[in-house]
């Protein structure tokens, strides 16, 4: 019964996707190009969402993904310019994210903080710290465009007479989702992670530190989000603006909720959200459409779709019992 119902949803989803693709191809857009943009938009969402899945499985909610995006996007460009290499920028972006994750984990585990408030604090901090960094580093308000050579170039394949580009980071994101899934389902550490979120007392009794597992997952989650943040300027947009992540950290949270903390489903959800964004932005610049639909409305599409999907999909999901609660030994 439950399976058939789920199957129903999948079928509806596939049918809708095909219908959308059909309509788009009728309107004269290239499908490979759309998938390319969809994958680009998916990447930061997927990275943050997979990280957040691990985070939440271990029992800490980090609503500060948006903040990590904003900070790492700017700092990664800074590192890239210092080391003259976009790839190093990506790596340092991930490391910066890991450090933020570590700090967040320390505050949550040892400070026993209210995680939602602490995460929101991180977002507010980034909202101010981002523009402050832009001013302090490049002395220019709100925007910085770096040299084009620093961009991390995508891998190119020849597909059906055209080129199909896919970024290395996208592949990392997909791999991260698969690895996270295997980690959670197939390894001892995975069992401990899930137990830390479900029944921390049992983990403690077994002689494993709940705090350490949670902090470790906060670091991993932060690193993945940091890579996502670094990806946006260095492999996608080619510049940084102060509000560059534009709510993507929260869309990633929505993907996590939609996926019920399953990294693979989170990847799928991220692709749906990313594809919607890709379609919206491809449509907006096409002649014939941009005269009729104001681009303001196309800009709303990713957020509206996130809301719609959340509305339709919630229910029947189970979240770890100790999620969001600091563990205190009695």
């Amino acid at each position: 019964m439950k399976l058939t119902r789920r199957l129903q949803w999948y079928l509806i989803g596939i049918a809708l996707t095909l219908a959308v693709l059909y309509v788009i191809s009728l309107a004269g857009f290239g499908i490979p190009g759309l998938i390319e943009t969809g994958l680009l938009a998916m990447t930061p969402l997927a990275l943050a969402a997979v990280g957040e899945c691990l985070n939440e499985q271990a029992g800490t909610t980090n609503v500060g993904m948006e903040g990590i995006f904003l900070i790492t996007a700017i700092l990664s460009v800074y590192w890239a310019e210092i080391f003259e290499s976009g790839t190093i920028g990506l790596l340092f972006g991930a490391m910066t994210g890991a450090v933020i994750g570590l700090l967040f984990g320390l505050v949550c585990v040892y400070g026993r903080a209210n995680q939602v408030i602490a995460g929101m604090g991180l977002n507010i901090f980034a909202l101010g710290f981002g523009p402050y960094l832009l001013m302090s580093i490049w002395a220019f308000p709100g925007i910085h465009v770096f040299r084009h050579e620093l961009m991390v170039q995508p891998l190119r394949f020849v597909v059906a007479g055209g080129y199909f580009g896919i970024s290395i980071v996208t592949i990392v994101a997909i791999a991260a989702a698969v690895l996270a899934y295997l980690l959670l389902k197939r390894t001892l550490l995975g069992i401990r992670i899930r137990a830390a979120g479900e029944n921390p007392i049992a983990v403690d009794v077994a002689g494993v530190s709940v705090g350490r597992i949670r902090i470790l997952m906060c670091i991993v989650g932060g690193a993945l989000a940091g890579l996502g943040g670094a990806f946006m300027p260095l492999a996608w947009f080619g510049g940084v603006v102060k509000e560059m992540s534009a709510g993507r950290g929260f869309i990633a949270l929505a993907a996590v909720v939609f996926a019920g903390l399953n990294p693979m489903l989170a990847l799928v959800a991220s692709f749906i959200f990313g594809f919607a964004e890709g379609v919206a932005f491809t449509v907006v610049v096409s002649p014939g459409v941009k005269e009729i639909v104001p681009f303001y409305f196309v800009q709303m599409v990713p957020y509206a779709i996130t809301l719609l999907i959340l509305t339709a999909a919630i229910g029947g999901k189970r979240f770890p019992r100790a999620l969001g609660k600091p563990y205190v030994r009695e």
Binding site: N123, I124, G247, A254, M300, I314
Partner: protein, 347 residues
């Protein structure tokens, strides 16, 4: 008596400690980029509170924060995390523009109509998040953020296409003279009395009425509330709607009560982030509307003083937001309060 005094003082001490942590961290951030924090803070506080004009200006900055703080605070009282003040405030600002700038009404009616209309617009934008929470259990953090972004594009669209000032594409039609609150001094207008009265009204609603009691009961102890027959859905609805009215009023303050522009900029630059700042203000004010008034005055001072910091020492005024974020994180940690309490017991 002593106990009551402690209950009153302790939250204030905790907020103070968090504020100090925030300011000290801000100093470190300045040092990291080679600025002089002492000169910067001196410029900030002298600029904000050093002269009567400065104080009036700081109060003008505080005005919208007092009400966006109420949005967050009343949510927390019902154990909701309503971070949608931002979008609801955009709607309030455009609502005030529609009635205050684009309509001609008799003098005293105009100002009241514009204010009320703005508040209702804010509440209207809070409604979807409330309904989604009640019917589908959609978490309000995600839904309100999505609504914030939709509001951003919707309001930008409205300003640019329908309510733009002819000949000045960068802003909406300013409020007409009949819809402007009288100026008290500097940029402060009499609208601050409306704002303070609203905060007091929410306090009365929360602590002196049945609806408020129900709302707080649902927030404090949902299980007990269920047995007592309190409706959690009604509490959610009331918290969101009052929060929306409040955020709408915040948007109106920037259009009807803020010289010299009396308008909404198309980039939304003059309302941007006031909703998020309200979260920090609410937390510093311990999620009490009256506490929020004082916290808003402090934060308004930082915002106004931040401009002096930028002008005199070159530190980007956005650092103030970063400091606010650190204060919020510090306030999330109950351990800080514990440490303060232990110190006091020992001494």
């Amino acid at each position: 008596m002593r106990k009551r005094l402690n209950e009153f003082l302790r939250p204030m001490v905790e907020s103070l400690v968090a504020v100090v942590i925030g300011l000290v961290s801000g100093a470190f951030l300045m040092l990291a980029f080679g600025y002089d924090p002492i000169r910067a803070y001196a410029a900030m506080f002298v600029g904000a509170f050093g002269s009567p004009a400065g104080i009036l200006e700081s109060l003008a900055f505080a005005m919208p924060l007092m009400v966006t703080a109420v949005t967050f605070a009343i949510g927390v009282r019902a154990s909701l995390f309503n971070i949608g003040a931002e979008g609801q405030m955009y709607l309030g600002a455009i609502g005030a523009t529609i009635v205050g700038g684009a309509m001609v009404l008799p003098p005293s009616v105009h100002i009241i109509a514009a204010t009320l209309f703005a508040m209702c617009f804010g509440a209207l934008w809070a409604l979807p998040a409330a309904l989604l929470k009640m019917w589908r259990g959609v978490h309000e953090v995600v839904s309100t953020i999505m609504l914030n972004w939709i509001a951003f594009w919707l309001v930008t669209f409205l300003v640019r296409t329908y309510f733009g000032e002819p000949g000045r594409a960068e802003r909406a039609v300013p409020a007409l003279a009949t819809a402007r609150y009288p100026i008290i001094g500097a940029s402060l207008t009499a609208m601050i009395f409306v704002v303070v009265a609203f905060c007091v009204a929410v306090t009365i609603l929360l602590w002196r009425t049945g609806i408020g009691f129900e709302l707080r009961l649902v927030g404090d102890n949902p299980e007990a509330a269920k047995y007592a027959g309190a409706s959690s859905n009604r509490a959610i609805l009331v918290a969101f709607l009052v929060g929306g009215l409040s955020a709408g009023l915040a948007g109106a303050t920037q259009v009807l009560g803020r010289p010299p522009s009396w308008t909404l900029y198309a980039t939304l630059g003059n309302v941007m982030n006031l909703g998020f700042d309200g979260i920090g203000v609410a937390l510093i004010g311990r999620n009490h509307p009256v506490g929020g008034i004082f916290a808003a005055i402090f934060y308004g001072g930082l915002m106004h003083g931040g401009r002096f910091m930028e002008y005199n020492v070159g530190v980007a005024s956005e650092l103030v937001d970063a400091i606010n974020g650190i204060i919020v994180i510090a306030l999330a940690v109950p351990q800080i309060a514990e440490i303060v309490r232990r110190r006091r017991r020992e001494s």
